[in-house]
């Protein structure tokens, strides 16, 4: 369906990434946000709290991030598209109920405007060190989808994707921004509502008598019933059967958990989006995401000036990781160079995919608090090309 015009601020704007995030959520049809203030993400909810009362949305500032995430999961069960926004310390607290959302198959969006860590770290300064936490932060086996925008414009665009993906796969979708993108102001074009494609929450057409909340019938996800429509369904964070009833057995665990994984794993190619430049014929391919992808492109250009044959892959979808594509590229290149604002996270994934083909994966680390000097990335490329 098309976006609800009430949430779409059509026009050419000059917005920072946080504001663009809020606008993207509202355009995507988000009408419930629970949040707790935390730098550098707070501007998102400040924007939303100002505009929500004008479009039928409800914002509540919760007592903490545990509560924010729980409220988001609860609200989503009414069919209302829901999200929360935070940064590292809050993201840690949200892990508990991100797991619940994954287990209950609750569509929702969680934005993390990453700052330097660990712990309180660098509240006002950029980091990209929560990437593995996004994938593995809650306990147990589950899959999420995570996206990483490189600009305010892309933040707006990816928010719409995030809400749509959450509906299609019934998973929490994590939007892994960073402080630099969050606090940078650039041109953002918001199209008219009729040009924004929205995946609505589709409600089951089955009668309550025959409805089973976790029966899939060969589809990737079960049909959704919302609270208050007479289905009187049950859902739980415990391992459950098709009825949503807890069943404590390894057989049920296998069935329940493998489906949570498979719905994402079997659709990696449908989910993953990459931006590629000059990968064919390259000796070295730079793999980067978020703000680092922009900075890395300067490094790529510098290396090209020195004769290196360099390709570039930008991870727009960071989770699920594009294994297949990286493996295929690994067959043809000498090495990957992975700059990221951490001491080595996504590089581990690249390394895993490159190992079989014998390609190197070279990390260009950054502690956080700033972005890479493109010259360092250039040097790493030239080093890897030797």
């Amino acid at each position: 369906m098309k976006a609800d015009p009430a949430g779409v601020l059509t026009g050419v704007h000059y917005l920072d990434g946080d504001f663009a995030c809020g606008e993207g959520a509202m355009a995507a049809g988000c009408r419930f946000v629970a949040g707790y203030p935390i730098t550098p993400s707070t501007e998102v909810v400040e924007r939303i709290s100002r505009r929500f009362p004008l479009m039928g949305g409800t914002f509540i500032q919760m007592e903490d991030e545990l509560g924010s995430m729980a409220a988001v999961v609860g609200a989503s069960w009414t069919g209302t598209k829901s999200m929360t926004v935070t940064s590292g310390p809050g993201f840690s607290l949200m892990m508990e109920n991100i797991g619940l959302a994954a287990m209950m198959e609750t569509p929702c969006v969680v934005v993390n405007v990453q700052r330097g860590g660990p712990s309180t770290g660098l509240p006002t300064m950029v980091g990209q060190a929560d990437m593995m936490q996004a994938r593995w932060g809650s306990h147990g086996d589950y899959e999420v989808i995570a996206l990483s925008p490189q600009s305010p414009q892309e933040t707006f665009d990816l928010m719409i994707n995030a809400f749509n993906l959450a509906e299609v796969y019934r998973v929490p979708v994590l939007v892994m921004m960073d402080e630099c993108v969050g606090h940078m102001t650039e041109k953002v074009v918001i199209p008219p509502a009729e040009e924004i494609e929205i995946v609505p929450r589709t409600l089951t057409g089955q009668p309550p008598e025959s409805y089973l909340p976790y029966k899939v019938d060969g589809k990737p996800v079960p049909e959704f019933a919302r609270a208050g429509d007479g289905y009187r369904f049950h859902t739980t964070g415990l391992t459950h059967d098709e009825r949503g009833y807890p069943v404590m057995s390894k057989e049920c665990q296998e069935k329940c958990v493998s489906r949570l994984l498979d719905k994402v794993r079997r659709n990696v190619d449908n989910i993953v989006r990459l931006e590629e430049r000059e990968v064919d014929g390259a000796d070295v391919v730079v793999v980067a995401y978020g703000i680092t992808a922009r900075v890395a492109r300067i490094g790529v250009e510098l290396a090209k000036l020195q004769g290196a044959k360099v390709g570039f892959i930008r991870l727009i979808t960071v989770w699920p990781f594009p294994d297949r594509r990286i493996r295929a590229v690994a067959e043809k290149v000498r090495a990957f160079v992975v700059p990221e604002i951490n001491y080595g996270q996504m590089v581990l994934e690249v390394e895993r995919c490159a190992a079989k083909a014998g390609a190197d994966a070279v990390l260009v680390p950054h502690p956080g608090g700033g972005v890479h000097d493109p010259k360092r990335i250039c040097e790493a490329i030239l080093g890897a090309a030797k």
């Binding site: 704007h13 102001t185 041109k187 972005v371």
Partner: protein, 200 residues
């Protein structure tokens, strides 16, 4: 325009961030080029000096931070002191004449405007930064005057557009009169060279 780096500084309340926002918006939205504006978060927020930076270019801005500005707008003495050494050797200094007493550097050009006094003469000292923007637009010419005016109109609170555009035009006119008129104020740079004493 090749990549142009701009830093605006002043004290809190002078509308430093809004100034950066308007310049960026003028370039990116109204002049159809690219501009990335960053507010001073973190280590740049030194002392009482408040700062915003803009990286403007004909092409996509890949690196959002600036290192050595081509244009340095100083609206307060503190801001000037904090960042003056960063200005490129051939950079342009634009400053509030009554508040900043610059030390001239060879190769750098300096342009002063009594933006606070001009704003006061318009009845509202709060539009000081917009006077400065008018002056900035005239000095640098990095975007057409109308693009800057459009950006001002789109960025100030509703109902204050007229006053702000008047402030903008007054700043613009000051440059025309003082630097491009019959008697270009060549002495401005000489005065700057002499340091604060010349203004005392």
């Amino acid at each position: 325009m090749s990549r142009t780096e701009i830093r605006i500084t002043g004290f809190g309340g002078q509308g430093v961030v809004l100034s950066g926002f308007i310049i960026g918006r003028a370039v990116a939205v109204h002049a159809g080029k690219h501009a990335t504006m960053m507010q001073s978060f973190g280590p740049e927020a030194r002392g009482s000096a408040c700062s915003a930076t803009v990286a403007a270019s004909d092409e996509e801005v890949l690196f959002p931070y600036i290192e050595r500005p081509d244009i340095f707008v100083a609206m307060s003495a503190d801001g000037y002191e904090t960042y003056r050494d960063d200005l490129k050797e051939d950079g342009i200094l634009i400053y509030e004449r009554d508040l900043v007493h610059p030390v001239s550097k060879e190769g750098q050009r300096a342009f002063g405007v009594p933006s606070t006094r001009i704003a006061e003469s318009l009845g509202r000292s709060i539009v000081q930064n917009i006077v400065m923007l008018g002056f900035f637009a005239a000095v640098t010419g990095i975007v057409p005057r109308e693009a800057m005016r459009d950006a001002v109109r789109a960025s100030v609170p509703a109902g204050t557009e007229e006053l702000n555009l008047k402030a903008f035009d007054a700043g613009y006119a000051y440059f025309e009169q003082e630097y491009k008129g019959a008697n270009p104020r060549e002495e401005e740079e000489t005065a700057a060279a002499a340091g604060p004493a010349a203004h005392a």
